[in-house]
Symmetry: C2
Subunit: 305 residues, 2 copies
């Protein structure tokens, strides 16, 4: 048995490749930090060929890619697909690379998703593949996908029907490293999901999300006035930001069942927030979801021939 | 007639000096961009002496300073005064510079204010002098002071009794220049307080302040999907941030009379927001307020001898 195709999740700052059969079996893998940002100067093709070699791919193996490699500033633009988006729509709109870029190899890039609603415009690239991978595994309803730009998406009847992005992860980094609050923060610093300062801030912001903007400067003042340590300020900043996001969503639609993508690091912080807000959690894994989504799309494109 | 003292408002990135009589008359002035940030490396004394010369100060004229020159990282730290803070308390806690820094000249720096409430810690430096200048002019009640860190303060019986800082101005700069939203923003760009994109965002955020975090990424998506121009995205970002701040305060205490400090630029944007939220505005000028506050404190310190 050999692989039917190579599945690639090519993000802004990460690269993951699996050699897969249409039956879902994984024959090899390779991963690295050569994301889109690296490749826009270093080139995409050499990075892909290198990882195919490392994973042990047969010559001429076809490749299916999702993620930022398909952005306008990526390798080749794969224009956004529209909602509602089932796997068939995503697969049908995959863009095949021309020979000047792909050589003899067949390479296709899956599109991202666009929500073309003037009152709630939104886009994603990469998460749509994870979502369709979850749909393949029978997941339905609300999905929370923590990250630099956390996505709240809805899966209905095997299709993505709507979503909303929060810049919570990026705001956290900007505020702790670039704003006046940096003077109140430790250089590095981790905290657990049950850290008292994190949990107290979560509860405040979940109960009253609009308090967020007026609570930020207090992190600096609280440290100047010796009410809190730098480590507490960091945990509180995270709790306020995640709490305001989760509390807002919980206020818009009563918390019920939700699927959370990711269980370590940021995922564990969101798990604490979602549980405190009253959601019933089903936790799943981002990499598995990506691989399942790429598999589902590959079967649509090649497996039925 | 000659000046009784020199009044100095020494901010993070600005310097303003007036030669004043105890009767309020201004005999000369000088201003520059040598704020605290400049002086921590270049030195404070040469900048002060240069501006005293330029304004035409008599030899040995005494000097009263407010603002960031009194911060820990400033010239000499003037520890925070506590609430409630009348002019007498501020004047009594002014710190006199020792001869190694001041030479033969008598130089005093007014303290900032601290709100030592563990549930709402806050600090200000410079605005307290403006507030006491307003109190001297008979202003009472709620005061809104737009800036990098906008202050909402309460004046009662001639004293500052409480305040709250919003990082709205800093968030605007961080988001437009350092975040993913920078791709959706013009390099420069101004808009009027009646700009339709600004006003629409104000109204949304005033009515529902908790919508802010979930509306930010849409500025980038809206531009990617051709729903808005870069100029509209900039105006909308400002409207969302200012609207969430004003709407939050309006939700905490029913809008009534308010004094707004500043009428141009940012002041005009806040005037639009406050009016749309239902406040009755009294507009005053920041420089006049600083000068009046320094005068009131100088009279306390020197005028009664």
């Amino acid at each position: 048995m050999t692989a039917d195709f190579a599945a690639v999740d090519w993000g802004t700052s990460s690269f993951r490749l699996w050699l897969m059969g249409f039956d879902g079996q994984v024959y090899g893998e390779s991963r690295g930090s050569e994301g889109m940002q690296h490749c826009t100067t270093a080139g995409f093709a050499p990075v892909l060929e290198d990882h195919l070699d490392r994973a042990g791919a047969a010559p001429g193996l076809r490749v299916l890619i999702c993620g930022m490699a398909g952005a306008r500033q990526g390798w080749v633009e794969a224009p956004y697909a529209d909602l509602p988006a089932p796997v068939t729509a995503l697969a049908a709109q995959a863009v095949q690379l021309a020979a000047d870029k792909a050589g003899d190899r067949e390479i296709r890039i899956l599109p991202g998703l666009a929500q073309r609603d003037p009152a709630a415009p939104d886009v994603m690239r990469g998460e749509e593949t994870q979502l369709l991978g979850m749909a393949r595994d029978g997941i339905e309803g609300l999905v929370c996908m923590p990250g630099t730009h956390c996505k709240w998406a809805r899966l209905e009847g095997g299709a993505v029907t709507g979503f909303k992005s929060y810049m919570t992860g990026e705001l956290f980094e900007l505020l702790r490293r670039q704003s006046i609050l940096r003077h109140a923060m430790p250089d590095e610093g981790r905290f657990a999901p049950d850290d008292p300062a994190f949990v107290a801030a979560l509860d405040q912001a979940i109960a009253d999300p609009a308090m967020l903007p007026g609570a930020l400067f207090g992190l600096r003042a609280g440290q100047l006035l010796d009410f809190s340590t730098r480590e507490q300020a960091l945990a509180r900043l995270s709790g306020l930001l995640i709490g305001a996001e989760v509390g807002r969503e919980a206020a818009l639609a009563a918390p019920a069942h939700i699927t959370l993508v990711g269980q370590e690091g940021l995922g564990a912080l969101y798990a604490a927030a979602l549980e405190r807000a009253g959601y019933a959690l089903n936790i799943t894994d981002a990499e598995t979801a990506s691989r399942q989504g790429l598999l589902a799309a590959a079967i649509e494109i090649w497996g039925k021939k």
